[in-house]
Symmetry: D2
Subunit: 400 residues, 4 copies
């Protein structure tokens, strides 16, 4: 295989075991198909808002990654599955020159879901032959590709939830889906001592470039809550009129509320004086004991202000993370998404993975019920614009 030019710039990692990665490839690819099993063909198509991509786009885009960065470079004799797919399913639009018609994702009824399934199978067969022959640098890139597909697996679930949860019929995605499997979490606060701490990825496993370089930070003494804010607590905030009172909100948050007429978290509905919530299992009465979900940074920060608390910084979160249970919801921090000292953006398309998003976004830490098992770690930095609500995001508080 010709070495992709992007690979030299990848973060240095030890040689991965190609056998283990072949197995992981098979597992990850199968999991994507597992996620879409409950869907009807029509569900794969729509894009109700710009941040929600159609399921069939996710399925094709993650496949394109392997075709583009492995198969197309592996041998001159490789013939792409379809000559236009590289154009249709490349999300790195900026480095693509040609545009006949903008591939507006939600308006593309073709290729059909079945055609995309065929595309996946075609690429998988070629990849399974290729993986045993990959050199160490390419195996690193393969692991990036698999983590990339896992990120899209989570997006598929949240995007599907958005699509079905905005359908007037509120069809369930899967009536057995449990959004809060682990409910018994201790209450109270943990106290962390002031001092210099190290943060950032350490060790030899896979990680994204934005987790490096590991570096020292000075952290003041703080206290952080063991459990997340619950629906009951958040309902108090809603019913206290907080969405009508500017004093709790950032200036940009208040503009967002006014412009979009926001009065409650995403997927909450007040029907006949009861609060309901659309979950992947369907529309259900709000369960006060569950952690609140689908709140954006603005809402998390306003809730913290209202309750006389604050959000942790991402470094406070990381330093304390061994001492509480995480994994229910992505947890908002009061840290902007910025490069660590010594961060270097790789050259080429891989370099567009993280660095170019390092403005106007806030860091979320942890992982959610929708995150594939084993995908996250305590140094993992997720990030979204502060107005976005559609992820499984929740609130952990610190004392002021």
């Amino acid at each position: 295989m010709n070495k992709p030019t992007d690979i030299q710039e990848l973060p240095s990692m030890p040689n991965a075991d190609s056998e283990a990665l072949l197995k992981k490839y098979i597992d990850v690819r199968a999991h994507t198909l597992q996620i879409v099993r409950p869907l009807r063909a029509e569900d794969f198509v729509v894009q109700p808002v710009v941040d929600v991509s159609p399921a069939k786009w996710h399925m094709a885009h993650t496949t394109w990654f392997f075709e583009e960065f492995f198969l197309a470079k592996s041998s001159d004799s490789y013939k792409r599955f379809h000559p236009r797919y590289a154009f249709l399913f490349n999300s790195y639009y900026e480095s693509v020159g040609e545009r006949v018609l903008r591939p507006n994702r939600g308006n593309m009824s073709r290729p059909t879901v079945d055609e995309i399934r065929d595309y996946r199978q075609f690429v998988d067969e070629h990849m399974m032959s290729l993986i045993p022959q990959l050199n160490p640098a390419s195996l690193q890139l393969l692991e990036l590709g698999l983590n990339h597909e896992q990120q899209h697996q989570e997006l598929m679930l949240t995007d599907i939830k958005y699509v079905l949860g905005h359908n007037p019929l509120f069809p369930p995605y899967d009536e057995q889906f449990e959004e809060t499997p682990n409910r018994k979490i201790e209450e109270g606060f943990i106290s962390i001592e002031e001092g210099v701490y190290e943060v950032g990825f350490e060790g030899e496993g896979f990680h994204f470039d934005n987790e490096k370089e590991r570096h020292k930070v000075y952290v003041n003494q703080f206290e952080i809550r063991k459990n997340l804010v619950t629906n009951s607590e958040y309902k108090e905030f809603v019913e206290a009129g907080a969405y009508q009172n500017p004093k709790y909100w950032h200036s940009d948050a208040w503009a967002w509320i006014k412009e979009n007429n926001i009065t409650q978290p995403l997927h909450w509905h007040q029907i006949d004086n009861n609060w309901y919530r659309y979950a992947l299992a369907g529309l259900q009465l709000l369960d006060g004991g569950e952690p609140v979900t689908h709140v954006n940074f603005y809402e998390a920060a306003a809730f913290a202000e209202w309750s006389g608390m604050r959000l942790p910084t991402e470094f406070e979160w990381e330093v304390a993370s061994d001492q509480f249970v995480w994994g229910q919801r992505w947890e908002h921090t009061n840290s902007a998404y910025l490069p660590y000292p010594g961060f270097l953006k790789p050259e080429g398309a891989i370099g567009e993975y993280n660095g170019k998003f390092m403005v106007n976004q806030m860091v979320l830490r942890g992982s959610s019920v929708a995150t594939p098992t084993g995908h996250s770690r305590k140094t993992y930095r997720n990030f979204f614009h502060p107005h976005l609500q559609w992820q499984f995001s929740g609130i952990r508080l610190c004392k002021k």
Copy 2:
């Protein structure tokens, strides 16, 4: 059957034959299914622009008309197919109070196409029992419902063409579809004498309220062309730089061109210095002999201006229509869509059918290759906002 309250206000028509209408009902309903036969499930869902509705919405909305105005009123024991469908598929939003979530058509993956097929079958079975029992007034309303479905049949074709023609893969709808079956049309002009003429619907068959009252108009002498403007003629206009020169255009037209960066008719594409056109049969080299299609009023008027001619008024068109062949394309007129003398808007929802659109729209006369057989007539008044291009619309000229 309880008489719908709307019926008394319908235009007076002779008793229709219920047996003939039952047959027409079966034919019209079957024709809708015929139109969607080439589609894949995914094609039924998308709404790339607000004027283009998903095919499954058309299928359900036309069915809702019969459920709402016949079955729901026919007996207290009728149980609707689904309690929410009246809400989802009513296009007369203004008279609907309740709104949980706005049924944004292109974002609704559910109900699925199969569920809507079941809905159609359910309603058809009930209607076929009911039709033989309908009184004359209800039969009139039935005929309106069938004409309504025929209008949506034409929209389905143009909407599907828009969806597939904006897909980067340009998938054909039906490779056998011939958009200009009748090409041998004589050239030259017809001259019509000055005088008082009668226009508007006359006789006893079905017609829309906007075609009445038949009335006298004074028409000056004029000359009108026998054949429509061709692609060749229109290509000259394009290649003469007319889309870059404000002098041919209305002020609002020029603003539309600038805002949308328009340089050619809808579905035209310049690829490697050749002109192509997306037709229902697929992407093909522009055929100079065909009548130009998918031009809006602004383009039709600018073309007329550029060629030293003008568009006919709707009355000129009607007076001359027995003397030329029409039916290839909807033909733009220079008449605004306004009520005829003595026009009375019926009470109730039926009253929203035509009257409320009588501002800001221009009249088109004739019919197109997409119009169901027998649907139109020479007094038929079609109407669109002047910027809309997606219908099978063409240009007939008059001398100045």
Copy 3:
């Protein structure tokens, strides 16, 4: 003087008397200064909405007309007052190539009002020397220029009213300004017989190209009201909840109401349960006896529908106009602004005066309290987009 190339295409008119036109020039130009006398420097600058131009722009633009079409063409030795003014004050943007920065009217603090006064005086001095030497064709163009300035005089008043009426302090323009000088108008209806009538300008005086050709129209019998709809009548409509009920409104009208949250005519204010109206004399209690003002076509049509009546067509209005008093308010008609049979657009910039606006606008007939004396006549065709409220426009009704 070099004959401007535009002049040959002007409508044919008899030779005007240059002495009379010199006197008219002096009067019209002085009247513009009369109108702005009550203004403070700051009032000349702002443009709160796109349809409202700053007073100093009106003053300069009308002056530019004479500089551009007379002085700049009169002799090679004429030196323009300022080399950039032709660029700044040309409203016929389409025929202007150069653009350094878009001259966004309401953001231009310079030139100052005093500089524009100097510009007017400079141009007036040159024009007063030139007028006695003009040939007949140029005298016709001069009369067009004076009518053009009169049109801007009316716009200045309505624009100033908009600016001051939207200031939270509601400063009066002129406390002596009487918006309804002539209140004693007979009630009742006039009946007009069916038949062929002639409409359009006839005779030898000044008129716009859109008033020609005089032509025959067939008019059905109709009855038209002698007096305009009053504030009292319109207040009933408002208080009956008509702005909340879609049944009276065109579809586009209802969209306008919803998008702009409209609940009453422009310049009406409900304060402490009383209705006030901003008039040029200041904020005052609504006078029920005055004709309603500042309603757009949508509102006029909805009011007519609500009251079981209709608006006249422009031809009905013209045919009946000798039999009622007009001149209080511009009167909405149910006619779209379209060319008369035989209408020919003049070549060049003058050709942009009327023809390019002949789509999407409705005709208003008569004149208003703000129209300069002698400017209008019964064949005069004013026109606006149907959503515009800021003119002194009112409602005359016909029986259905």
Copy 4:
């Protein structure tokens, strides 16, 4: 004087000397009038974009601050200069209930400049009697009011520059205004050692709440440039096509460039192949030796990327600031505007001063040629949204 309820929450400061503050009051208030001296009445009115306020609004709003927080609370007998001004000139809209008409700043021709000058004089006379009687807490608030006016003085200059610099006539503000008085600045880099540093305000003078608490941060070794990026250097970036190449830009930056068609810094103009720049002294040839000005965060970050460097963090800047000359331009940092550890937002309207802006904005350090003397200090944190260009902002680089 009744103590304003807001005062208890002010940051604790030592008693200020009322005599010194009276003198400062007189100086600051006079300086505002000094700034507007070159303006014509028309220049005080316009608001070409939402971030640019009219000069007369700045003059009135800074005056309102003293009337609202001092005079209105000082005695029950105080009669406001005008009952509506508190409504018109309060920028803290969120805590104001009543709204008759939204006081859209750029559309308010009244009150006139002269009326606002009278308002200033009225308030100044009352304040000068009141200041000697103020208690220490009120004197602190007074110092805040004066710093507030100084911030608006800088905005007045940049807003006026925007207004005149976007006028097609490019009128100078003041031909003597020198935007870069201090040009002789050493080149080269300063190196700072790794370690724990203290940042934030220390001492007893005036400071904003966002500068506290002083706290420890861990800073890695870094090298920072002694002089700012020059116009020559930035011109290379422009001429290298950087505005056409996405690889240097953040994702949001690229969207901003595309949406606004940005090709160069604000106030740069390419005319006949020469680069010009609008300065307060008028349009002039670009001076390569001056520091680049009016670049936003996106441009600063892209320039740094292009040149293989990076922007400093705000803490690096502060730690190194004693070792270089600052004060020419506000200097972009790569730090988001976030609270310091222990930051507490004061209660009431004063609490809206800083805290609510702590999202989506980036920190700028230093000061500019437009900053009033003595207003800034090395711990001062200025902040803007990353797309805003209209301040006197420049670029200081660090080695990667």
